[in-house]
Symmetry: C2
Subunit: 252 residues, 2 copies
């Protein structure tokens, strides 16, 4: 990892950040200054910083400077968030709010609800039309301490959700899952498919990440006890901000 100059510069800066030379939010020296300091061209420093940026170790304020990002990742515990004990302990608050409060973050969210044409893969899984407005979309955007952290889009077939509280912004105590249960479509099983990819333009814009960073795409399907898919949720999160946890039983 230490052959090329930009790799060496990157390694030195990583080390400086890992040690306590820089605090979260502190500005690094300018590229020109770093170039002089390390005795290399600015393009070389720029390439090194691009690496750090794509790792999530620094972020850039265009026209201002490069700043250090040193925050512990957020844990998304997929299994625990659906357990009764935990739900009861934390009352009506969502799973994410619970997780983040435990880490000392303050959570904010915005929700938009509309009827829409579902993406092809969602239409296929839900067994609805991919050409008409066949689903209700609940589009939520989350910030933690003023920092964007997650995009969550839930798709529910119109046949289930039309005219119900699911079409309102506030779904009430217990949220979307409880409303589905009220309507006779309680989810019994969850299937999640995880992939990692580059962000789309709108995702990168909301999450304030560079286009060479990566996001998790979690394709989450809620199924009833009869194995009927009743809800698809797609989660998009920057990989450097999150760790995922799953727990499951081994069939004896």
């Amino acid at each position: 990892m230490a052959e090329s100059q930009y790799n060496e510069v990157a390694a030195k800066l990583r080390e400086a950040i890992r040690s306590d030379a820089y605090q979260h939010g502190e500005m690094l020296p300018t590229e020109a200054r770093l170039a002089a300091e390390f005795g290399v061209n600015r393009a070389t420093v720029n390439k090194a910083l691009r690496m750090l940026r794509s790792e999530g170790l620094v972020y850039v304020h265009r026209g201002v400077g490069t700043f250090v990002h040193r925050l512990p990742p957020i844990l998304r515990d997929a299994t625990a968030r659906h357990q009764r004990e935990r739900r009861e302990r934390h009352g009506s608050r969502g799973a994410l709010a619970t997780e983040l409060t435990e880490l000392g973050y303050e959570l904010e969210s915005m929700t938009e609800v509309r009827r829409a044409v579902p993406p092809p893969r969602v239409a296929e899984v839900l067994g609805v039309s991919g050409e008409e407005k066949s689903v209700v979309v609940r589009a939520r955007r989350f910030h933690a301490n003023q920092m964007p952290i997650q995009i969550v889009d839930s798709y529910i077939p119109l046949a289930i959700a039309a005219g119900t509280r699911i079409e309102q912004v506030d779904t009430g105590v217990g949220g979307l899952s409880s409303r589905l249960a009220d309507l006779g479509h309680a989810q019994a099983e969850i299937e999640e498919n995880v992939t990692v990819r580059l962000p789309a333009d709108d995702e990168a814009a909301f999450l304030q990440i560079a286009d060479d960073q990566r996001v998790y795409e979690i394709f989450h399907v809620g199924l009833t006890a009869e194995d009927v898919p009743v809800k698809v949720t797609i989660y998009i999160m920057p990989v450097h901000q999150w760790a995922l946890r799953y727990r499951y039983s081994v069939d004896p």
Copy 2:
């Protein structure tokens, strides 16, 4: 995504690859040729190709050329691989072999077994010394169709494994999990923590990936019915080659 020239070049090449202009393994035009074709400098083409490479869409044979990579991702179904029905259906073969055969891949693996000092995090979870050779490491390396795809290192406390079949390369029918069960340490629960990071040098070398690609690190802990950790396995896989699937029940 289409402002800068290198992004436009990258977008055009992505599109050419996604359509059927190139087959898997086919060589792209040289950077010089692409630069002439698109009317930009070679450095710009190089930057675009670097993006595609980091996405796993192309790979480079140093001194030869840039080649297209178009293979469907491998699905790692964490839950299904531990279910009895599936295990019985496929006999003594491992979970991975089963998954890959279904996708038409031919699987090869190498196994090394040794006693070693565990990494700090592993020592902590297993409750063993992080200074002495307190674990047996089963280091496996997997290829599918001659392509490296996965690094799997399992750590078992010496207190459990010393002198048993676990210390031999061939663990026999049912593999490591069955031997743990034989020894009275049957795993009842699995916890997996997923993160995404840059590869270490040795990981990049084995997996034949560039140092700006990403790998999943899956920190997998096997626990007995009494919640005692008996095995830690760390999986390292390139993100562009794999999708992860988890399925779990919702507590009613």
